[in-house]
């Protein structure tokens, strides 16, 4: 049963045709949630007494960091499925996800730095979270660079899937070692998010923003994967028919 399901969804054409109506809906929902979340968190959430207005950047920083890690794990998962069951769509999704995940991680780094300035007085601080985000960015860049460097597309797909898997196995190791390293050199410092200190009036907008980013990620990944499908299957009959139909519509 799972086998059939996998094979059906793994066919690029099926995937493209079935996800067509979803894209518009996802985009709309993402937009609504983002606007709602931003307004709530930036406008209405209470001021944190220690850090003032500037702390609001965490409403972008935390979701971006979350999704940055999440997208990497998704890439690794897709890579594994693609390698084991030879599903093409998985490789296309991995290729599409890498730049998007890198952008999210970069956003997390930048917002982390912006948050750091009024809080610690410096534009960059080597604390555990930010250091880990930087390393994650390097992992992403490695995958993007490998994808670009290998000339044969099949080999590039598989090599990047393997690299994403290797990276994902390393992520818990890296995360724990960075945290250990941080406590080694700076035993008692401010944490970015004191989990217990989060008041619920701050927690809810944060959760909303996380959810909004999640839907946004789904939307972006679906969109870029569909473009990748069109690009790769350009010479097949169904894509040619599709393009011809669009051209007809454009004329009339």
């Amino acid at each position: 049963m799972v086998w059939q399901w996998l094979h059906r969804w793994g066919s690029p054409r099926w995937f493209y045709e079935k996800t067509g109506p979803w894209v518009a809906w996802l985009g709309l929902i993402a937009l609504v949630l983002l606007v709602w979340g931003l307004v709530w968190s930036l406008g209405y959430a209470p001021i944190e007494h220690k850090q003032g207005q500037s702390y609001r950047i965490i409403f972008i920083h935390v979701p971006a960091a979350f999704m940055g890690q999440g997208v990497y794990l998704l890439m690794a998962f897709c890579g594994a499925v693609g390698l084991i069951w030879r599903v093409k769509v998985c490789f296309m999704m991995t290729k599409a996800a890498a730049p998007y995940g890198a952008a999210l991680t970069f956003l997390a780094l930048v917002t982390g730095a912006i948050w750091g300035k009024p809080t610690w007085g410096t534009w960059w601080e080597w604390d555990a979270r930010i250091t880990f985000m930087l390393i994650l960015l390097f992992l992403y860049i490695g995958i993007i660079a490998l994808q670009a460097a290998l000339p044969s597309r099949d080999t590039a797909d598989k090599a990047c899937a393997l690299l994403a898997l290797i990276g994902s196995v390393n992520i818990p190791l890296i995360k724990n070692s960075v945290e250990w390293w941080y406590t080694l050199h700076q035993p008692a410092t401010i944490k970015i998010i004191g989990k217990s200190a989060m008041h619920e009036s701050m927690l809810y907008p944060l959760l909303l923003m996380i959810f909004a980013f999640w839907i946004l990620t789904a939307f972006a990944l679906l969109l870029t994967t569909r473009v990748e499908i069109l690009r790769r299957e350009f010479r097949t009959r169904w894509v040619q028919d599709l393009l011809a139909a669009e051209r007809e519509e454009g004329k009339s």
């Binding site: 044969s152 099949d154 790769r232 010479r235 009959r237 040619q240």
Partner: protein, 215 residues
């Protein structure tokens, strides 16, 4: 043990959205000499790499002695001698050291047997000279010395006569003939004409889908 025979069922290979060949069906028995024909770039080397197990990028089935390749990698590896486009000889080592490595992997052979194999190709005198100092033809002859050491029934040879002179080609053809007579199976590609009798051919272009066609 079932006699050696190779069967291909509905074999196809697609690389980078380009279909090299599809619907390839064939069956070859012990004592067959098969030559793959076709212009450059039509997938001959790809097919050889698939049949020898180097590449696993194919759809369809390959059966050796009636069993799928995936189910018998250990046995198939012992039954196979593959010499590809590149000789597979390390330039930092001497011919003898190179052959020693191959011999240890597939069983064992004494040094005298290795030297005898080199002698068959006229390379015995060079056995202790680092291969980096040998010419391309000499390197290939060292690689082909494996033909005289192997007990494998299946030989897959990709352009084996490259850079070999006429008398050398004649000697090698005699060795291949010997292998055929003793019940082996040889697949070969060659730009030169083979002067052996009973060569079965496979034209790879016959299995190519229409040029530039829509899949």
């Amino acid at each position: 043990m079932t006699p050696p025979h190779l069967e291909l069922r509905n074999l196809s290979c697609t690389r980078d959205e380009r279909c090299l060949f599809a619907g390839l069906n064939a069956r070859w028995e012990a004592g067959d000499l098969v030559q793959l024909l076709g212009p450059n770039g039509c997938g001959k080397s790809s097919l050889m790499r698939i049949l020898s197990g180097v590449s696993r990028e194919f759809e369809g089935e390959i059966l050796w002695r009636g069993r799928k390749l995936q189910e018998q990698t250990w046995e198939f590896a012992q039954d196979l001698l593959y010499i590809g486009h590149q000789p597979g000889i390390k330039k930092s080592l001497t011919p003898l050291e190179n052959l020693r490595w191959y011999a240890s992997l597939s069983g064992s052979a004494s040094d005298s047997q290795l030297i005898e194999a080199l002698a068959q190709l006229g390379m015995a005198a060079y056995r202790d000279i680092p291969c980096g100092q040998l010419s391309a033809g000499q390197l290939r002859r060292v690689a082909l010395a494996r033909l005289y050491l192997s007990r494998a029934p299946l030989w897959i040879l990709d352009e084996p006569f490259t850079a070999i002179d006429k008398p050398g080609v004649a000697r090698l053809e005699a060795r291949i003939e010997q292998q055929i007579q003793s019940g082996g199976l040889v697949l070969i590609t060659s730009h030169q004409d083979l002067s052996l009798a009973g060569v079965k051919t496979l034209r790879l272009e016959d299995f190519r889908p229409g040029a530039g066609g829509l899949l």
